[in-house]
Subunit: 199 residues, 2 copies
């Protein structure tokens, strides 16, 4: 059995989109177990002294990122539209994902949130957007949404974000395989190879 791949991602992150749309498919294709690990970059960036996305703070890097994203999305056959607002707050979506990381609908939810952010340009912090996306895929969307406001769920996401920092995770997406971390959409293939090599 290959070792599992942990997928550490943040809904605001552009390069996480490129991985999130493909990872469930490529993992299942190769028989690799996937573990969804949503977390927040905000507190991690904050501890590095950044109060905004580094792509907004460092403008040359930001301008490059948007050009590179368009090229990489095209190369991977994924639709992509630069959102009007960047970064969006994926806090509630991340709480939902953290609370239901093992649900059979979670992969679809993850892809729907990223599509809302980076394709259709919807407000992913709006409970109405979340309800609209949850409606067709979960039996009881109202309780999923209200659960997301519980202290237990808030705490679970906070804990997971602290765990990310402890593991040395500083950006998203990050893949964690057998204790090693691989940062960036460009490392998805290497992470999968490591999962298969550690079998």
């Amino acid at each position: 059995m290959p070792v599992p791949v942990e997928f550490w991602f943040e809904y605001a992150s552009t390069y996480s989109y490129l991985s999130a749309m493909r990872i469930e498919h490529v993992c299942s294709e190769r028989g690799v177990k996937l573990i969804w690990k949503p977390f927040l970059l905000g507190p991690i960036f904050s501890s590095q002294g950044w109060r905004d996305s580094p792509f907004n703070i460092y403008t040359a890097k930001g301008e490059y990122m948007w050009a590179d994203m368009a090229r990489e999305a095209a190369r991977l056959g994924l639709p992509f539209n630069k959102p009007r607002l960047f970064p969006q707050s994926g806090l509630t979506a991340a709480r939902i994902t953290c609370a239901h990381a093992k649900a059979d609908w979670i992969g679809q939810f993850v892809r729907d949130i990223y599509t809302a952010n980076f394709v259709t340009g919807s407000d992913i912090s709006d409970p109405l957007t979340l309800a609209t996306l949850l409606n067709p895929i979960v039996p009881d969307p109202a309780s999923v949404l209200s659960d997301a406001r519980s202290e237990a769920v808030k705490m679970a996401l906070r804990d997971q974000t602290e765990q990310a920092a402890k593991l040395g995770i500083f950006g998203a997406p990050t893949f964690r395989v057998g204790g090693e971390i691989y940062w960036g959409n460009d490392r998805l293939d290497q992470a999968l190879l490591a999962a298969l090599a550690n079998a």
Copy 2:
């Protein structure tokens, strides 16, 4: 004819090493003209408020980079030893490279400097190291070294660094092909494909 690939690199940069060791070979293999563009990251980082390598400032990112470099070097079949001093000053080496970017020995010199920095752990700012590397590959190493101290050569490297910033270059290695930039060793293949597509 494919359009040329400009290779913008900095001798202190770890990921530039991974590209520099391969680029002359892969370009010649595919019939792509290579233009060597040494520049300095120092002034560019400085203008972003960094007085050291971001890998030293942001420790989690730095720790990851050294692990990733070891893995990537192994994957590419390149030797790699973490240098005791990072970043080294490649100022004189960059001046020499800038002044002789079209010389037939320049590819060898570039690879020798990177090998000194990231394999044998020599001091690449030491004129003795430079003389030792130049000796077997240029007819008159003493004049190459003294030229590197001339105002004209100093100015040429300063101009090239300013041009990098104007082109939106914020890190190294960067490949520039037909007006578009590609950042990072991970983008070497895409840059080559772009050069061939623009033929």
